[in-house]
Symmetry: C2
Subunit: 189 residues, 2 copies
Protein backbone atom coordinates (compact mmCIF):
# COMPACT_ATOMS: atom_id res chain seq x y z
CA UNK A 1 0.00 0.00 0.00
CA UNK A 2 2.68 2.47 -0.89
CA UNK A 3 1.42 6.04 -0.86
CA UNK A 4 -2.00 5.09 0.40
CA UNK A 5 -1.80 7.75 3.10
CA UNK A 6 -0.70 10.25 0.47
CA UNK A 7 -3.71 9.35 -1.65
CA UNK A 8 -5.94 9.91 1.33
CA UNK A 9 -4.33 13.28 1.93
CA UNK A 10 -4.79 14.41 -1.67
CA UNK A 11 -8.39 13.26 -1.54
CA UNK A 12 -9.08 15.24 1.62
CA UNK A 13 -7.24 18.26 0.23
CA UNK A 14 -9.33 18.06 -2.93
CA UNK A 15 -12.53 18.07 -0.92
CA UNK A 16 -11.38 20.96 1.24
CA UNK A 17 -10.14 23.10 -1.66
CA UNK A 18 -13.37 22.44 -3.54
CA UNK A 19 -15.56 23.42 -0.62
CA UNK A 20 -13.73 26.42 0.82
CA UNK A 21 -11.37 27.44 -1.96
CA UNK A 22 -7.59 27.03 -1.92
CA UNK A 23 -6.77 30.32 -0.23
CA UNK A 24 -9.35 29.88 2.51
CA UNK A 25 -8.22 26.34 3.32
CA UNK A 26 -5.50 26.15 5.93
CA UNK A 27 -3.00 23.40 6.55
CA UNK A 28 -4.42 23.09 10.05
CA UNK A 29 -7.92 22.54 8.61
CA UNK A 30 -6.53 19.83 6.42
CA UNK A 31 -4.52 18.24 9.23
CA UNK A 32 -7.66 18.16 11.34
CA UNK A 33 -9.47 16.28 8.57
CA UNK A 34 -6.62 13.78 8.52
CA UNK A 35 -6.64 13.46 12.30
CA UNK A 36 -3.01 14.60 12.62
CA UNK A 37 -1.04 17.76 13.37
CA UNK A 38 -0.35 20.34 10.68
CA UNK A 39 3.39 19.77 10.78
CA UNK A 40 2.90 16.08 10.08
CA UNK A 41 1.46 16.83 6.67
CA UNK A 42 4.97 17.62 5.54
CA UNK A 43 5.93 13.96 5.82
CA UNK A 44 3.81 13.49 2.71
CA UNK A 45 4.10 16.69 0.71
CA UNK A 46 6.53 19.57 0.37
CA UNK A 47 4.08 22.43 0.38
CA UNK A 48 0.45 23.44 0.20
CA UNK A 49 0.87 24.46 -3.39
CA UNK A 50 2.25 21.06 -4.34
CA UNK A 51 -1.10 19.50 -3.52
CA UNK A 52 -2.87 21.98 -5.77
CA UNK A 53 -0.40 21.08 -8.48
CA UNK A 54 -1.05 17.36 -8.12
CA UNK A 55 -4.81 17.84 -8.26
CA UNK A 56 -4.82 20.23 -11.20
CA UNK A 57 -2.36 18.38 -13.40
CA UNK A 58 -3.91 14.99 -12.79
CA UNK A 59 -7.22 16.37 -13.98
CA UNK A 60 -5.64 18.13 -16.94
CA UNK A 61 -4.01 14.89 -18.03
CA UNK A 62 -7.30 13.06 -17.81
CA UNK A 63 -8.92 15.57 -20.15
CA UNK A 64 -6.06 15.41 -22.62
CA UNK A 65 -6.13 11.62 -22.58
CA UNK A 66 -9.83 11.76 -23.41
CA UNK A 67 -9.03 13.94 -26.39
CA UNK A 68 -6.54 11.37 -27.66
CA UNK A 69 -9.13 8.67 -27.26
CA UNK A 70 -11.57 10.62 -29.40
CA UNK A 71 -9.03 11.27 -32.10
CA UNK A 72 -7.76 7.68 -32.17
CA UNK A 73 -10.85 6.31 -33.80
CA UNK A 74 -12.30 7.66 -36.98
CA UNK A 75 -15.67 9.24 -36.69
CA UNK A 76 -17.34 12.10 -38.42
CA UNK A 77 -17.37 15.41 -36.61
CA UNK A 78 -20.75 14.99 -35.00
CA UNK A 79 -19.84 11.62 -33.54
CA UNK A 80 -16.50 12.97 -32.40
CA UNK A 81 -18.13 15.90 -30.66
CA UNK A 82 -20.66 13.64 -28.99
CA UNK A 83 -17.91 11.37 -27.75
CA UNK A 84 -15.78 14.27 -26.55
CA UNK A 85 -18.73 15.63 -24.60
CA UNK A 86 -19.50 12.21 -23.18
CA UNK A 87 -15.95 11.72 -21.95
CA UNK A 88 -15.74 15.25 -20.62
CA UNK A 89 -18.94 14.89 -18.63
CA UNK A 90 -17.84 11.51 -17.37
CA UNK A 91 -14.52 12.88 -16.11
CA UNK A 92 -16.28 15.71 -14.34
CA UNK A 93 -18.93 13.54 -12.75
CA UNK A 94 -16.44 10.91 -11.62
CA UNK A 95 -14.88 13.42 -9.26
CA UNK A 96 -16.76 16.70 -8.95
CA UNK A 97 -14.47 18.00 -6.21
CA UNK A 98 -11.31 17.58 -8.24
CA UNK A 99 -13.12 19.12 -11.19
CA UNK A 100 -14.08 22.14 -9.15
CA UNK A 101 -10.44 22.65 -8.17
CA UNK A 102 -9.38 22.17 -11.78
CA UNK A 103 -11.88 24.72 -13.01
CA UNK A 104 -11.79 27.35 -10.25
CA UNK A 105 -8.64 27.07 -8.17
CA UNK A 106 -5.81 26.64 -10.68
CA UNK A 107 -5.18 30.36 -10.63
CA UNK A 108 -3.52 29.94 -7.24
CA UNK A 109 -0.78 27.85 -8.81
CA UNK A 110 2.61 29.50 -8.66
CA UNK A 111 4.82 30.03 -11.67
CA UNK A 112 6.08 28.20 -13.56
CA UNK A 113 3.35 25.61 -12.93
CA UNK A 114 0.61 28.07 -13.67
CA UNK A 115 1.96 28.68 -17.15
CA UNK A 116 2.37 24.96 -17.80
CA UNK A 117 -1.19 24.44 -16.68
CA UNK A 118 -2.55 27.09 -18.99
CA UNK A 119 -0.68 25.50 -21.86
CA UNK A 120 -2.35 22.16 -21.19
CA UNK A 121 -5.70 23.84 -20.96
CA UNK A 122 -5.15 25.58 -24.27
CA UNK A 123 -4.17 22.29 -25.84
CA UNK A 124 -7.49 20.81 -24.82
CA UNK A 125 -9.39 23.83 -26.07
CA UNK A 126 -7.59 23.50 -29.37
CA UNK A 127 -8.59 19.85 -29.62
CA UNK A 128 -12.27 20.73 -29.33
CA UNK A 129 -11.87 23.57 -31.81
CA UNK A 130 -10.28 21.14 -34.26
CA UNK A 131 -13.34 18.92 -34.09
CA UNK A 132 -15.61 21.87 -34.84
CA UNK A 133 -13.41 22.89 -37.75
CA UNK A 134 -13.68 19.39 -39.20
CA UNK A 135 -17.45 19.62 -38.84
CA UNK A 136 -17.50 22.84 -40.80
CA UNK A 137 -15.34 21.34 -43.53
CA UNK A 138 -17.54 18.25 -43.71
CA UNK A 139 -20.42 20.69 -44.16
CA UNK A 140 -22.15 19.27 -41.11
CA UNK A 141 -21.96 22.35 -38.91
CA UNK A 142 -22.95 25.91 -39.52
CA UNK A 143 -20.27 28.41 -40.19
CA UNK A 144 -19.62 29.98 -36.85
CA UNK A 145 -16.86 31.73 -35.01
CA UNK A 146 -14.94 28.60 -34.02
CA UNK A 147 -13.28 30.05 -30.96
CA UNK A 148 -16.60 31.40 -29.78
CA UNK A 149 -18.35 28.07 -30.27
CA UNK A 150 -15.57 26.20 -28.49
CA UNK A 151 -15.76 28.39 -25.42
CA UNK A 152 -19.52 28.16 -25.38
CA UNK A 153 -19.42 24.39 -25.44
CA UNK A 154 -16.78 24.19 -22.76
CA UNK A 155 -18.72 26.60 -20.57
CA UNK A 156 -21.75 24.38 -20.82
CA UNK A 157 -19.96 21.15 -20.01
CA UNK A 158 -17.95 22.67 -17.18
CA UNK A 159 -20.96 24.20 -15.50
CA UNK A 160 -22.37 20.78 -14.76
CA UNK A 161 -20.05 20.78 -11.84
CA UNK A 162 -22.06 23.48 -10.12
CA UNK A 163 -25.17 21.43 -9.77
CA UNK A 164 -24.31 17.80 -10.52
CA UNK A 165 -25.38 15.51 -7.73
CA UNK A 166 -24.18 11.88 -7.82
CA UNK A 167 -27.36 10.93 -5.96
CA UNK A 168 -29.56 12.87 -8.41
CA UNK A 169 -31.79 11.31 -11.01
CA UNK A 170 -29.63 12.14 -14.02
CA UNK A 171 -26.73 9.81 -14.77
CA UNK A 172 -23.61 11.21 -16.45
CA UNK A 173 -24.44 9.39 -19.67
CA UNK A 174 -27.87 11.01 -19.82
CA UNK A 175 -26.47 14.42 -19.04
CA UNK A 176 -23.96 14.05 -21.86
CA UNK A 177 -26.73 13.04 -24.24
CA UNK A 178 -29.02 15.91 -23.35
CA UNK A 179 -26.13 18.31 -23.57
CA UNK A 180 -25.02 17.02 -26.96
CA UNK A 181 -28.51 17.38 -28.31
CA UNK A 182 -28.79 20.87 -26.91
CA UNK A 183 -25.48 21.94 -28.37
CA UNK A 184 -26.16 20.39 -31.75
CA UNK A 185 -29.79 21.28 -32.33
CA UNK A 186 -30.63 24.01 -29.82
CA UNK A 187 -33.89 24.83 -28.19
CA UNK A 188 -36.19 25.68 -31.09
CA UNK A 189 -38.72 23.25 -32.49
Amino acid sequence: MAHSRLNELIEKATKLFAEKGFAASSMRDLAHEMGIEAASLYSHIHSKEEMLEIICFKKADQFLAALDEVNDIYFNAEEKLRMAIKLHVSIICKNPNASKVFIDEWRHLEEPHKLKFIEKRNLYELGILEILKTGEQENLFKEVDLKFATLTILSTVNWINQWYNPQGKMKPEEIANELSNFILTGLKK
Copy 2:
Protein backbone atom coordinates in the same frame (compact mmCIF):
# COMPACT_ATOMS: atom_id res chain seq x y z
CA MET B 1 -19.73 64.23 -3.58
CA ALA B 2 -20.90 62.20 -0.64
CA HIS B 3 -19.66 58.64 -0.68
CA SER B 4 -17.38 59.20 -3.63
CA ARG B 5 -14.45 57.81 -1.68
CA LEU B 6 -16.60 54.85 -0.70
CA ASN B 7 -17.46 54.25 -4.33
CA GLU B 8 -13.80 54.29 -5.18
CA LEU B 9 -13.10 51.81 -2.42
CA ILE B 10 -15.79 49.41 -3.58
CA GLU B 11 -14.49 49.69 -7.13
CA LYS B 12 -10.95 48.87 -6.07
CA ALA B 13 -12.17 46.04 -3.85
CA THR B 14 -14.16 44.63 -6.76
CA LYS B 15 -11.09 44.61 -8.96
CA LEU B 16 -8.94 43.02 -6.27
CA PHE B 17 -11.48 40.34 -5.36
CA ALA B 18 -11.98 39.53 -9.02
CA GLU B 19 -8.28 39.18 -9.72
CA LYS B 20 -7.03 37.40 -6.61
CA GLY B 21 -10.18 36.01 -5.05
CA PHE B 22 -11.78 37.24 -1.85
CA ALA B 23 -9.83 35.05 0.55
CA ALA B 24 -6.48 35.84 -1.03
CA SER B 25 -7.08 39.59 -0.99
CA SER B 26 -5.92 41.32 2.17
CA MET B 27 -7.09 44.57 3.64
CA ARG B 28 -3.49 45.79 3.37
CA ASP B 29 -3.47 45.00 -0.36
CA LEU B 30 -6.63 46.99 -0.74
CA ALA B 31 -5.37 49.86 1.39
CA HIS B 32 -2.25 50.01 -0.76
CA GLU B 33 -4.41 50.34 -3.88
CA MET B 34 -6.23 53.21 -2.21
CA GLY B 35 -2.99 54.85 -1.13
CA ILE B 36 -3.91 54.74 2.55
CA GLU B 37 -3.28 52.56 5.61
CA ALA B 38 -5.28 49.39 6.25
CA ALA B 39 -6.86 50.75 9.41
CA SER B 40 -8.18 53.75 7.51
CA LEU B 41 -10.41 51.54 5.41
CA TYR B 42 -12.64 51.19 8.44
CA SER B 43 -13.70 54.82 8.16
CA HIS B 44 -15.66 53.70 5.10
CA ILE B 45 -16.77 50.15 5.81
CA HIS B 46 -17.35 47.95 8.83
CA SER B 47 -15.63 44.81 7.65
CA LYS B 48 -14.07 43.04 4.73
CA GLU B 49 -17.15 40.92 4.31
CA GLU B 50 -19.38 43.98 4.08
CA MET B 51 -17.67 44.95 0.85
CA LEU B 52 -18.33 41.52 -0.59
CA GLU B 53 -21.96 41.92 0.43
CA ILE B 54 -22.27 45.29 -1.30
CA ILE B 55 -20.74 43.96 -4.50
CA CYS B 56 -22.75 40.76 -4.63
CA PHE B 57 -26.13 42.22 -3.77
CA LYS B 58 -25.79 45.16 -6.10
CA LYS B 59 -25.16 42.76 -8.95
CA ALA B 60 -27.97 40.47 -7.88
CA ASP B 61 -30.38 43.39 -7.90
CA GLN B 62 -29.28 44.40 -11.38
CA PHE B 63 -30.09 40.94 -12.70
CA LEU B 64 -33.46 40.86 -10.99
CA ALA B 65 -34.30 44.30 -12.35
CA ALA B 66 -33.49 43.04 -15.84
CA LEU B 67 -35.92 40.21 -15.35
CA ASP B 68 -38.67 42.66 -14.43
CA GLU B 69 -37.88 44.68 -17.50
CA VAL B 70 -38.31 41.60 -19.68
CA ASN B 71 -41.59 40.65 -18.07
CA ASP B 72 -42.98 44.17 -18.20
CA ILE B 73 -43.50 44.13 -21.93
CA TYR B 74 -45.38 41.49 -23.78
CA PHE B 75 -43.37 39.36 -26.11
CA ASN B 76 -43.54 35.79 -27.17
CA ALA B 77 -41.15 33.40 -25.46
CA GLU B 78 -38.43 33.58 -28.08
CA GLU B 79 -38.32 37.36 -27.97
CA LYS B 80 -38.38 37.28 -24.19
CA LEU B 81 -35.48 34.86 -24.06
CA ARG B 82 -33.49 36.94 -26.54
CA MET B 83 -34.10 40.04 -24.52
CA ALA B 84 -33.21 38.31 -21.24
CA ILE B 85 -29.96 37.09 -22.77
CA LYS B 86 -29.20 40.52 -24.16
CA LEU B 87 -29.70 42.19 -20.81
CA HIS B 88 -27.78 39.51 -18.99
CA VAL B 89 -24.80 39.82 -21.32
CA SER B 90 -24.95 43.57 -21.11
CA ILE B 91 -24.88 43.52 -17.29
CA ILE B 92 -21.92 41.17 -17.31
CA CYS B 93 -19.96 43.11 -19.90
CA LYS B 94 -20.61 46.46 -18.25
CA ASN B 95 -18.59 45.37 -15.25
CA PRO B 96 -16.74 42.07 -15.70
CA ASN B 97 -14.96 42.38 -12.35
CA ALA B 98 -18.13 42.75 -10.34
CA SER B 99 -19.63 39.91 -12.35
CA LYS B 100 -16.72 37.66 -11.51
CA VAL B 101 -17.21 38.37 -7.82
CA PHE B 102 -20.94 37.78 -8.17
CA ILE B 103 -20.38 34.45 -9.90
CA ASP B 104 -17.36 33.06 -8.07
CA GLU B 105 -16.87 34.76 -4.72
CA TRP B 106 -20.32 34.91 -3.16
CA ARG B 107 -19.64 31.70 -1.30
CA HIS B 108 -17.43 33.64 1.09
CA LEU B 109 -20.45 35.59 2.30
CA GLU B 110 -21.30 34.88 5.91
CA GLU B 111 -24.73 33.85 7.08
CA PRO B 112 -27.34 35.14 6.99
CA HIS B 113 -26.31 37.09 3.90
CA LYS B 114 -25.24 33.99 2.06
CA LEU B 115 -28.70 32.52 2.35
CA LYS B 116 -30.35 35.77 1.26
CA PHE B 117 -28.04 35.84 -1.72
CA ILE B 118 -28.88 32.30 -2.76
CA GLU B 119 -32.56 33.17 -2.54
CA LYS B 120 -32.10 36.05 -4.95
CA ARG B 121 -30.12 33.87 -7.27
CA ASN B 122 -32.85 31.24 -7.23
CA LEU B 123 -35.42 33.91 -7.98
CA TYR B 124 -33.53 34.88 -11.11
CA GLU B 125 -33.13 31.26 -12.17
CA LEU B 126 -36.86 30.81 -11.72
CA GLY B 127 -37.53 33.80 -13.94
CA ILE B 128 -35.57 32.27 -16.80
CA LEU B 129 -37.25 28.93 -16.25
CA GLU B 130 -40.63 30.65 -16.47
CA ILE B 131 -39.75 32.02 -19.89
CA LEU B 132 -38.80 28.56 -21.12
CA LYS B 133 -42.01 27.12 -19.74
CA THR B 134 -44.00 29.73 -21.66
CA GLY B 135 -42.10 28.77 -24.77
CA GLU B 136 -43.05 25.16 -24.34
CA GLN B 137 -46.69 26.07 -23.82
CA GLU B 138 -46.66 28.31 -26.88
CA ASN B 139 -45.32 25.28 -28.74
CA LEU B 140 -42.23 27.24 -29.78
CA PHE B 141 -39.66 25.25 -27.85
CA LYS B 142 -38.92 21.57 -27.69
CA GLU B 143 -40.03 19.66 -24.67
CA VAL B 144 -36.98 19.57 -22.49
CA ASP B 145 -36.09 19.26 -18.84
CA LEU B 146 -36.74 22.89 -17.94
CA LYS B 147 -34.39 23.03 -14.98
CA PHE B 148 -31.67 21.46 -17.07
CA ALA B 149 -32.16 23.90 -19.92
CA THR B 150 -32.19 26.86 -17.56
CA LEU B 151 -28.89 25.91 -16.00
CA THR B 152 -27.36 25.27 -19.38
CA ILE B 153 -28.37 28.67 -20.64
CA LEU B 154 -27.11 30.41 -17.51
CA SER B 155 -23.82 28.56 -17.71
CA THR B 156 -23.34 29.79 -21.23
CA VAL B 157 -24.11 33.40 -20.51
CA ASN B 158 -22.08 33.48 -17.33
CA TRP B 159 -18.99 32.00 -18.92
CA ILE B 160 -18.58 35.06 -21.12
CA ASN B 161 -16.97 36.62 -18.13
CA GLN B 162 -13.98 34.30 -18.42
CA TRP B 163 -12.90 35.59 -21.77
CA TYR B 164 -14.78 38.81 -22.51
CA ASN B 165 -12.43 41.63 -23.35
CA PRO B 166 -13.87 45.15 -23.57
CA GLN B 167 -11.15 45.96 -26.13
CA GLY B 168 -11.94 42.82 -28.17
CA LYS B 169 -13.70 42.80 -31.48
CA MET B 170 -17.04 41.48 -30.23
CA LYS B 171 -19.41 43.98 -28.73
CA PRO B 172 -21.85 42.85 -26.00
CA GLU B 173 -24.77 43.17 -28.40
CA GLU B 174 -23.10 40.87 -30.91
CA ILE B 175 -22.17 38.37 -28.25
CA ALA B 176 -25.76 38.28 -27.06
CA ASN B 177 -26.97 37.73 -30.61
CA GLU B 178 -24.57 34.90 -31.36
CA LEU B 179 -25.37 33.31 -28.05
CA SER B 180 -29.11 33.56 -28.58
CA ASN B 181 -28.78 31.95 -31.97
CA PHE B 182 -26.60 29.21 -30.57
CA ILE B 183 -29.00 28.49 -27.74
CA LEU B 184 -32.06 28.55 -29.96
CA THR B 185 -30.88 26.71 -33.03
CA GLY B 186 -27.69 24.90 -32.03
CA LEU B 187 -24.72 23.98 -34.10
CA LYS B 188 -26.13 21.68 -36.76
CA LYS B 189 -26.89 22.78 -40.26
